[in-house]
Structures are given as structure tokens and as C-alpha cells.
């Protein structure tokens, strides 16, 4: 295990734990509830926006015109269409991934 891995896991784990325990700690110490309507609404809007961001982030290395782009386009179409059709998250992750892995090898 490399130093970089240890650092990345430690940072992400620490921030995630902090987020998860903070409301409990604040309630225990100050006997006050951390119920902020503004923060709640922000989080409600932030989640869909960040998922949109993450989709773009995942596709950032794909350059138009090469074979990977075609494979990704086909796999993404299957992903979206199968989800609209069956609404089965797992199916729409596993099948497009397999399709992508096969296509990038044969195209």
C-alpha cells in the first residue's frame, strides 16, 4: 500500500466520519439540535447537481472521435434506456459496464 493511498483514504475517511458524527456531537455537547433549514435545502439541491458534475467528471478523459468514445456512447445509451425501461439500478450498471469492456476490446 503506497503512501499516497494511505493519505487519500485517511483524508476522505476523516472528512466523511466528521460529517456523519457532527450532528450527534453538537447535540450531545450543546444540547442543541443542528437543524438548519437553509443547510437542509442546500443539501437537497446540491446532491442532484453534484451527480451531474460527477457524470461529466467520469467522462472527462474521453476524447471525441476515437473508439473509446463510440463504446462509451453505446454503453451510456444502454445504461439510460435500460434504467428508464426496467428501473433496476444494478442491471443498468453491470450490463453497460460489460458492454463497454467488450466493445473497447473489439472495436
Amino acid at each position: 500500500m503506497s503512501r499516497a493511498e494511505i493519505i487519500a483514504i485517511a483524508i476522505i475517511a476523516a472528512v466523511t466520519v466528521l460529517i456523519r458524527v457532527l450532528p450527534f456531537i453538537i447535540t450531545d455537547i450543546f444540547h442543541r439540535r443542528t437543524d438548519s433549514r437553509i443547510l437542509g435545502r442546500l443539501s437537497e439541491l446540491l446532491t442532484p447537481a453534484l451527480i451531474g458534475m460527477l457524470v461529466v467528471y467520469c467522462l472527462k478523459d474521453i476524447s471525441f472521435g476515437d473508439n473509446t468514445a463510440l463504446s462509451a456512447a453505446i454503453a451510456l445509451t444502454v445504461c439510460v434506456a435500460s434504467y428508464i425501461w426496467k428501473k433496476n439500478t444494478l442491471l443498468s450498471i453491470v450490463v453497460p459496464t460489460l458492454i463497454y469492456m467488450v466493445l473497447t476490446r473489439v472495436i
Binding site: 460529517i19 439541491l45 451531474g52 457524470v55 444494478l90 463497454y100 469492456m101 476490446r105
Partner: protein, 229 residues
């Protein structure tokens, strides 16, 4: 009808729907992490200590691109902010959970949250039931990770392209959000801001500006909504 292991049995039954998802995605994570050239131990520790799927997948990209600690912190804060509200919603349910409480707080994922929201079956030791449920769920996630890491090291074949599972995971989530009309504006804004930042700043450094602009736009939106109330 409460037997000696009623909590164990109920927790296991309620965790079953999570099993397939966590085992499969965990396997995907184990494969993606190790086939990107990182250690099996790292993958497993990640699933034990982080236990937040989206960020675990993103961490692989961070490691590959040598991202700075600051961008890791900001990204984790933003992506996992929703957990703050899962915890707030569980303040009452988890109060008085005693020795189980630290783990209950740590292991509150999207899936566990959605099951715990329904409460505990009657006549059960609720904290113990929540604890076992969380533990079952995390054990599926860790087991999947171990399977993925093992497959990668045992089978002498290339898993190149398996990282598409991360793209598919987020695409499915985005599709679900778009089908639920309410979140279309935020989803669309997230995609457009990120695309614009990718064009302007390039793929090495578009993440932080994207995060900053998305957060700023939404914060202003929320504050304007508040003023109208």
C-alpha cells in the same frame, strides 16, 4: 414471538435487499481500485474506513491524477454533505443507543438510512437491531470489495474498462433524478457548470471551480428562497 436472536434474524432479513447491490458495487470498487494499480489492502481499508461508495470510486481518480489534499477535502465535503442530514434525521432514533451509537453514526449510508427510517420492528431491542443491520450492510460492501480485489489478483486477465461502472453508477443516479422532475434544474445546472469549467480550465483543474460555482449558485438560490418566505 421474540426468540433469543430476534434482532439478528430481523436485521438479516431487512438487509437482504441491500446485499445484491452492495456485493456487486463492492466487487466493482475492488476491481476498479486494484486494476488501476493500487493495493488490495488499500481497497479493503477504504471499504472499512470510508464506507461511502461514491467517494471511494472518486478516490481512485484522485489517486491516478495525484489530486491535492485540499481538493480531496472539498470534494468529500460536497459529495457527502447529505450524510449530515441523515445523521440529523437519526438524532432521536439513535439517542440512548449506548455502546452501539458510535458505529451507528459511522455506518449511516444511503441504503442503511432508508431502512432505519422505517423504524425497528416491535418488541425488539431497537439499537441492537439497527447495529446489526448496519453491520450486515457494511459486511456485504467489504465482502464485495474483497471479491473484486481477489478476482483481479487471481485471474490473469485485463479488467480494463471496468472503471466504466463508476460512470454507469452516476449516470443511473442522474437518470433517476431527471425522471423525478423536481431535481431537473439542479441536475442540469450541475452538468452545464461542470462542462463549462472543463472547457475553460481544462481537465486537470476544473473540479474545484465547478464545485465552487455549483455551491455558490445553490447557496444564492436557497437564500433567495428564504427571503421570499
Amino acid at each position: 414471538m421474540k426468540g433469543p436472536n430476534a434482532e439478528l434474524r430481523q436485521a438479516f432479513l431487512k438487509s437482504l435487499p441491500v446485499m445484491a447491490g452492495y456485493m456487486t458495487l463492492g466487487t466493482g470498487f475492488g476491481l476498479v481500485y486494484t486494476s488501476s494499480g493500487f493495493s488490495a489492502l488499500g481497497a479493503i481499508l477504504s471499504s472499512i474506513l470510508i464506507f461511502a461508495g461514491s467517494m471511494q470510486f472518486v478516490s481512485v481518480n484522485f489517486l491516478l491524477s495525484g489530486a491535492s489534499p485540499v481538493s480531496m477535502i472539498l470534494m468529500t465535503l460536497a459529495v457527502n454533505l447529505r450524510h449530515l442530514f441523515y445523521s440529523i434525521s437519526m438524532l432521536d432514533k439513535y439517542r440512548g443507543a449506548g455502546k452501539y451509537k458510535p458505529y451507528l453514526e459511522f455506518a449511516l449510508t444511503d441504503e442503511t438510512f432508508s431502512i432505519v427510517c422505517d423504524g425497528a420492528p416491535e418488541n425488539l431491542d431497537a439499537p441492537k437491531y439497527y447495529f446489526l443491520l448496519s453491520l450486515f450492510n457494511q459486511s456485504y460492501w467489504i465482502a464485495g470489495t474483497i471479491i473484486g480485489a481477489t478476482l483481479q489478483s487471481m485471474l490473469n486477465i485485463s479488467f480494463a474498462g471496468v472503471d466504466f461502472s463508476m460512470t454507469a453508477l452516476f449516470t443511473v443516479t442522474l437518470t433517476g433524478q431527471i425522471m423525478n422532475r423536481k431535481s431537473i434544474p439542479s441536475s442540469a445546472m450541475g452538468v452545464m457548470v461542470t462542462l463549462a469549467c472543463l472547457l475553460i480550465f481544462g481537465k486537470e483543474s476544473f473540479l474545484i471551480p465547478s464545485l465552487a460555482i455549483i455551491s455558490a449558485v445553490l447557496l444564492v438560490t436557497v437564500l433567495l428562497e428564504e427571503r421570499k418566505r
